[in-house]
């Protein structure tokens, strides 16, 4: 595979990855899709799931994202995730702890608080992340 795809993954907090890769598989709302170099311009929203970065045929990196957008242009693939973390080095126990902490914070807030809705999203994200880790 001669041509490389420029891929960058950013979350509001920081830029998680930026560089040249062979192949990226991302979870679009309408189904998973793969992007290679010279992909046609394409944009989609994402659902919670795993973004896989492939080098040749081997998975080099797995990143768990919550929502956001993927934007494919001639310049490469950009994923804007609401939240993202590398799957390697995360244990289900850590995630469970974080879930408990989020739940506590949520219970302290009013039902119609917009922050609560955000925490709920965060909680759902952790829940699906845990599901991935347990399997």
């Amino acid at each position: 595979m001669a041509d490389k795809l420029h891929f960058s993954l950013v979350s509001p907090a920081r830029e998680l990855f930026s560089g040249e890769v062979d192949h990226v598989i991302a979870p679009g709302t309408d189904g998973e899709f793969g992007v290679l170099a010279h992909h046609a311009p394409f944009m989609t929203t994402l659902k919670n799931g795993v973004v896989r970065v492939l080098e040749g045929d081997t998975v080099k990196m797995r990143i768990f994202v919550r929502g956001g957008f993927a934007d494919v242009t001639s310049a490469g693939l950009t994923i804007l995730a609401e939240e993202a973390r590398m799957l390697d080095g995360v244990s289900a126990g850590d995630v469970q702890e974080e879930m408990d902490a989020t739940l506590l914070k949520m219970q302290a807030l009013d039902k119609d608080d917009s922050v609560r809705a955000t925490l709920q999203e965060h909680f759902d994200y952790l829940e699906s992340l845990k599901a991935v880790l347990v399997h």
Partner: protein, 292 residues
């Protein structure tokens, strides 16, 4: 001529002031590092988001959602003024407030209705004096620990979108202090709603290729726009907080130096006064002895 005791007291008080300013400077320096890192780390996301929006709005044309296309009127303006919660940061708050005041006045001169939403206590205090009847809301950031503005930004973003949907205003402008470097913070006015992609956002030339959207262009725009606004608010908050710390650090550094100079000159004055008193006492003793 102040007495020796007065001078001594003043030196002691300036010395303790210097200790305080020095401590504040060091605290600001430590906080600055973190605030600056947070602001820098958040930039790529905001930039990419702007680029994506620029691409989308270029192809969406005029028929897009209201958040992008506007209400078709620009009669009612909402000015969001973002300042610090605390003072003692040199001209930081004053410059931002000055820009806000100019913007509000210019809008009023054009016959527009202006509403103000303040973020941070200081801007509210200064603008309340002149425009107390224009305030529609205030966001308190005093409870925020460190740089975790995310939930505040989301709340403010939701609030703005809701007010816009309720028809409370046509155009929202965000006035905040942009962090250039430790010595320079630039007060900036940025149009928030209708969302305008910044002119310098990099758009990619598609060379005639057609974008494909999943699920659909409008669906994407509808999810993207509120997030774009939240992102803008968040990055403004981060920039503003980095600027505040930088400004406070510089101001307190100056204050510490000034206090040092003041102590030097007061000590000189104190020593002179003490010497003068000794000389005076000697003269008294000698002339007393001569008189015998």
């Amino acid at each position: 001529m102040p007495s020796l005791k007065d001078l001594k007291n003043r030196i002691a008080s300036v010395k303790s002031t210097r200790k305080i300013t020095k401590a504040m400077q060091m605290v600001a320096a430590a906080k600055l590092k973190r605030a600056q890192d947070a602001a820098t780390a958040a930039r790529p996301y905001a930039q990419r988001m702007a680029a994506v929006l620029a691409n989308l709005s270029a192809s969406a044309g005029a028929g897009g959602p209201k958040l992008l296309a506007g209400t078709g009127s620009d009669q009612t303006h909402l000015v969001v003024v973002m300042t610090a919660e605390r003072g003692l940061a040199g001209g930081f708050n004053a410059y931002t407030v000055k820009l806000a005041r100019q913007t509000i006045r210019a809008l009023q001169d054009d016959g527009k209705t202006v509403k103000i939403l303040s973020v941070g206590k200081k801007g509210r205090e200064s603008l309340k004096r002149e425009f107390s009847d224009l305030f529609v809301g205030h966001v308190d950031l005093s409870a925020v620990k460190g740089d975790s503005f995310t939930s505040n930004a989301i709340a403010l973003g939701h609030d703005l979108t809701k007010r816009f949907d309720d028809g409370e205003f046509d155009v929202a402008t965000l006035i905040y202090s942009q962090f250039k470097n430790v010595l320079t913070q630039v007060p900036t006015a940025q149009q928030l709603i209708p969302a305008a992609a910044p002119a310098d956002a990099e758009t990619v030339d598609l060379a005639g290729a057609i974008y494909r959207y999943e699920p659909s262009e409008t669906a994407i725009l509808e999810t993207l726009l509120p997030r774009y606004i939240t992102t803008q608010v968040l990055s403004a908050m981060l920039e503003s907080s980095a600027g505040e710390q930088a400004s406070r650090m510089t101001a307190m550094d100056n204050a510490t130096r000034n206090a040092g100079e003041m102590i030097d000159s007061l000590s000189l004055q104190y020593n002179r006064a003490r010497q003068a008193q000794i000389t005076k006492e000697l003269i008294e003793i000698i002339s007393g002895a001569e008189a015998l």
